[in-house]
């Protein structure tokens, strides 16, 4: 029966000190009563294997002890939904800010602005700092909520709740008017500026600087004009009817897809064929053309990544709006 004593000792370890003797005495009595009953049924003393089986059925020592302990949790069911929301927000903020730094660092590196100063724009270091920052921020948030769980604030939460403080009803898939106003203004400015200044066939003038462009420029000019026109029209409609519909989300998706194709195509088109400014030698002008085209080509992967993000956001919005429309149809 040494196995039973070892079992009881292991259970005792997990029990609160004040209750150890009492609980273990009762548990011991119960196990011995069960052993006696089993022996009477079998007509022989129990072997070690029998005892082992009997103890296994009772469960591991920590499991048995846990049933005597009060149920505890680091963050209880009342605060947990708030905790989860805060964790998501903090994670997005931390990852977003570090991701932005990472992108800026990559661009700075590719431009060679900080050549010779690797510490400034080291994507590897930023990548590792992302994990450290995420773990630290999640740890701090968890700690704060664990403290809140054990303070009076949690108990006051349901009592201080007031129905009048509830946020007003929001229409489904609302488009904030502020964003529509900004989008409309920017699109209109782009449309006017583009139409007035970039229409010159194959040669652009910026003060004393002249830029000669490849023949493909005409198509790019027209495509961007169509894109700006579409954007202006869509933002005007969004301003007047500030909620997303399936058709308008699909239009947004198509426009952004068109913009992505134009932009990425522009980067890889070797669009600049010549530059000239007062006092420039042919060698300087040639180097400038190669430099500009090379820089544009280098931006291509980042542009692809940005376009994919925009596409994913629009696709997700389309799915949500479609799902909501189907639900509304079912309810109606």
């Amino acid at each position: 029966m040494e196995l039973i004593d070892r079992y009881l000792q292991a259970v005792r370890f997990w029990l609160p000190r004040r209750q150890q003797d009492d609980i273990v005495a009762e548990l011991s009595e119960d196990i011995h009563a069960q052993v006696e009953e089993r022996q009477a049924a079998l007509g022989r003393p129990l072997t070690d294997i029998d005892v082992e089986e009997l103890l296994r059925r009772r469960g591991s020592p920590v499991l048995v002890a846990s049933r005597y302990l009060p149920q505890e949790s680091l963050i209880g069911p009342l605060l947990f939904p708030i905790y989860r929301f805060v964790i998501v927000v903090v994670t997005i903020c931390v990852a977003g800010s570090i991701g932005l730094s990472w992108l800026v660092a990559l661009i700075i590196r590719s431009l060679g602005i900080v050549a010779g100063r690797p510490g400034v724009a080291n994507p590897g270091a930023l990548w590792s700092s992302l994990w450290v920052s995420l773990f630290c921020s999640a740890g701090v948030v968890t700690l704060i909520f664990a403290i809140l769980e054990r303070t009076e604030a949690k108990a006051r939460l349901p009592r201080t709740w007031n129905p009048r403080t509830l946020p007003p009803l929001r229409p489904a898939h609302l488009i904030p008017r502020s964003s529509s106003v900004i989008e409309f203004a920017v699109s209109l400015c782009l449309l006017v500026w583009w139409g007035l200044n970039m229409a010159s066939p194959l040669t652009l003038r910026f003060g004393a600087l002249r830029v000669a462009l490849a023949p493909g420029w005409t198509w790019i000019f027209l495509s961007i004009l169509v894109f700006a026109l579409g954007n202006t029209a869509l933002s005007a409609v969004n301003l007047m009817r500030p909620w997303w519909t399936t058709r308008r989300v699909a239009s947004r998706l198509s426009l952004d897809a068109l913009g992505s194709v134009i932009f990425c195509g522009l980067l890889r088109a070797n669009i600049v064929t010549g530059v000239a400014w007062p006092g420039a030698t042919p060698e300087q002008a040639g180097a400038a053309v190669i430099g500009v085209n090379h820089w544009l080509a280098q931006m291509f992967p980042y542009a692809i990544a940005a376009c994919l993000v925009i596409f994913a956001v629009n696709a997700w919005r389309l799915i949500r709006v479609k799902r909501r429309s189907s639900l509304d149809a079912v309810v109606a």
Partner: protein, 115 residues
């Protein structure tokens, strides 16, 4: 259907009933092992890992009283219903009978509606 769902629902259904069964069985004094056997004989099987913590909880709530006593050459802890426990058992049994009657009516009405 997920078999775990049925098992969880059964557990939930039994949880409240077990308290009632234990309180009712302890109108006469019992120690843990015999209490478990009495409950099993009446179709309310309960694991020792569930029974003993439940007995402690009910005792800490003042519904049970217990004492260690020698019985058949071994020390055993005997439980019985306290005076508070008796009063609460009466109230709980009334509630249970009311729930049982309501459920029977609901199930009966539903059966009439579907046939």
């Amino acid at each position: 259907m997920n078999p775990d769902t049925l098992e969880n629902l059964r557990l939930e259904l039994r949880r409240g009933s077990l308290v009632l069964a234990v309180l009712a069985a302890l109108r006469s004094e019992q120690y843990g092992y015999t209490l478990r056997r009495v409950l099993a004989e009446h179709g309310m099987e309960i694991e020792e890992g569930t029974l003993y913590p439940l007995l402690r909880r009910l005792e800490s709530q003042g519904l049970l009283a217990s004492e260690w006593r020698e019985h058949e050459k071994r020390n055993k802890r005997f439980y019985r219903l306290s005076a508070d426990g008796r009063r609460i058992l009466v109230r709980l049994l009334a509630d249970w009978q009311s729930i049982d009657a309501s459920l029977r009516t609901i199930v009966k009405e539903h059966d009439h509606g579907t046939h």
